[in-house]
Symmetry: C3
Subunit: 155 residues, 3 copies
């Protein structure tokens, strides 16, 4: 059996693991935020979820769309759309031997931008706060992709 | 060229690979389930998909929303929202040298919970079946994230 | 500190990194395509996004659903649903020591199919163009999953 722990002694990979865990945990909080709003505002997507609030016609009135809930769901989907490329490109970038301080700068900017994006979406802050946060995260991923393709293109 | 096969001789990583492949294959079945319901119930999202059922005004009546299809799509999106963090955190957790039996317990619980979640969503089973399945999978990911950040935090 | 750069000297992993970066970059273009259509067609999901086009009742008319925007969003979600399994299964498959030319064939087919899927969805091309592109990508992922489970099953 190989001792894989040495893999994780690589500092770039350790940093990637830490920042990735933080940004994915933040994303997971969106699920609980949605659940929180669904329960406190009594807004449900499935009949079986609102049985305790009444049955039959009485329950159907809870199967509705709510601005607040939809806003959280859009923020959650935007997270997914942006964190998935970061996961894939970021892991391969980390393995491609980048400079430690450059790599950490990329990770910090991305995680900071995604946290700010969520705050700007949920409060909400006036534009262009959210758009800016989006483009910073986007730019970080593009920059890692560029570095990866420049140094390791193999088609 | 490096012999990477030794990486996969690590038992935790082999277990992670097996359980991940199973849970991702299950998620991919949601696509075919959606397609199955769309075809059998004649419910489409795009005009070009229902051309064979008629043209013009006649075709438009198939562009509709269906409870059954929407239910599968919600289950699919919930899978995405929960399996993506498991993928990222689980891979890095596997590389951080955890105890084999603890790691396998995590993977088994997660995969079992997600399969049960899908069953509970599609049948549907009464609540709190689905909510419980969701929280077991969620808890497993949080537990791996905690272990990862405790042992390898590097910011 | 371990020299991880040797990991990336593995040709299969380098090829996986290149094709993954390309397909994830393509997926990220869907975000900008959505933003492009939202701005040019003045179709928004959030009140704060259309403040510059008017306030109060005047702004509300931009909070609407548009066929073109919804089409891009469906293509984007379909990308997510299919690229996430490719990411997870493909990485583990690459680490399992497959034959280089077989691996590259898988990656090329998948990336080509997903690019064709996007073109077929956005133009749109008549069916079964999109369905075929979907099933080629799907088949590639299933083939990698099968190979992985056959050679490395560890439950």
């Amino acid at each position: 059996m190989v001792d894989l722990t040495q893999l994780m002694e690589n500092e770039v990979l350790m940093a990637f693991a830490s920042y990735t865990t933080i940004v994915l945990s933040k994303m997971m909080l969106m699920s609980t935020t949605t659940a929180f709003y669904r329960l406190t505002r009594k807004v449900f997507a499935n009949p079986e979820d609102c049985v305790s609030f009444g049955r039959g016609e009485n329950a159907k009135k809870f199967l509705r769309i709510d601005d607040r809930v939809e806003r959280v769901r859009r923020a959650h989907l935007n997270d997914l759309e942006n964190i998935v490329p970061f996961l894939g490109i970021g892991l391969l970038y980390s393995l491609s031997g980048p400079d430690l301080s450059t790599a950490i700068l990329h990770f910090r900017l991305f995680v900071g931008a995604r946290i700010y994006h969520t705050i700007a979406y949920l409060l909400p802050l006036p534009q262009p706060n959210r758009a800016l946060a989006f483009f910073v995260g986007y730019g970080v991923t593009v920059s890692m992709a560029y570095r990866l393709l420049k140094s390791r293109l193999y088609l």
